[in-house]
Amino acid sequence: MANALGPSFLGDELKVWMPWFTKRLLHIAIRRLPEAQRERFSEEWASHINEVRGETRKAAFALGCIFAGLQIASLLKSGEPVLSRILTRTLDIIVSAGVQWLKSALASCVEMHLQHTKAVMRVQTQGVLRGIPEEPRGIINELPRKRGLVKAETVRHGRHLCEGAHVKVGPTRPDGTAHPHAGKTGRITSSCVLRAPSTPGNLSAFMDSYSDPCWLGRPAAMIQIDAAVWPRKFIWVSVECLEALSEDTRS
């Protein structure tokens, strides 16, 4: 019984759905056409489909109209004036070049970020710096927040410079210029690789606050100055500029 009912049921369903399906196909075909040709072909194809007998044939006709629509669209596009075609092509090239440029810029940004992250990780894994890299927030007198309790440890001229180590700021900065904090002594309170803020406005404010851009991108340490004669109690200094003082020189 199911065998007998199945095909008949399916046939009835098809009969009901086929006109809707054909109509949809024809609608799709007309949408493929250029705007100026839609009215003409929608009427012409509607009149043609009226003369086709059988729902399946009508659907086949409508399907053929989709291909016709695509061909007609391409035909009329290739018939556009040369100048218009050149302009369209130029625009295509510009857009595609722009997209390519954006892609490569994005890729290089990602690459730079990855390299930076890798460099930081390398520093950490080599034991040169075990502090958790963190961008300093707030003003210089605020201690940077630490994400973990990993003890910062740095190596300078074979000596370990860890948190709490007593150090002296050397006479020159890594670029060879005189260090503004030369001769100051203090303790390392934390260390990390500092990165410049991403936005130019923040960068300017950052530079103003810290006044020593030498250590940007390098391992740096925050020093709590021994004699708080300086208005700032804490300073950031590149690890390269630090000299470890022996324990007995501590004040």
């Binding site: 009427e43 194809w45 009149s47 016709a68 061909q71 007609i72 035909l75």
Partner: protein
């Protein structure tokens, strides 16, 4: 737009149909039936020939309201189209004749 259309077998079928039945013109459905072409092939050819100036087309004179159905569009050969079609058929016939002669 007067670029020469490519004379494919299907195009020749359409031209042949219009040459043999041409009076007031034939609708797309009639051409399709006579030339045994599907809609996907037929309408691009008709448009291409029309753009080349070989065909002209017009709507049925009555309105859809009067007819009670969508209007048909009739196609007929232009003078130039008829000349070109005849010349094309002459070329094809001579080529086929040549081939036939060679195969004997």
């Amino acid at each position: 737009m007067s670029t020469e259309p490519r004379l494919t077998t299907q195009t020749l079928k359409v031209l042949g149909t219009l040459m043999t039945h041409s009076s007031d013109g034939l609708s797309g459905a009639e051409i399709g039936r006579a030339a045994k072409l599907q809609s996907g092939t037929l309408y691009p050819i008709l448009l291409r020939l029309e753009q080349a100036g070989w065909l002209k087309s017009h709507w049925e004179s009555e309105t859809p309201q009067e007819l009670g159905r969508p209007r048909r569009r009739f196609y007929q050969l232009t003078g130039m189209g008829a000349r070109k079609a005849k010349s094309a058929f002459r070329d094809v016939t001579s080529t086929i004749g040549g081939l036939e002669w060679q195969t004997r």
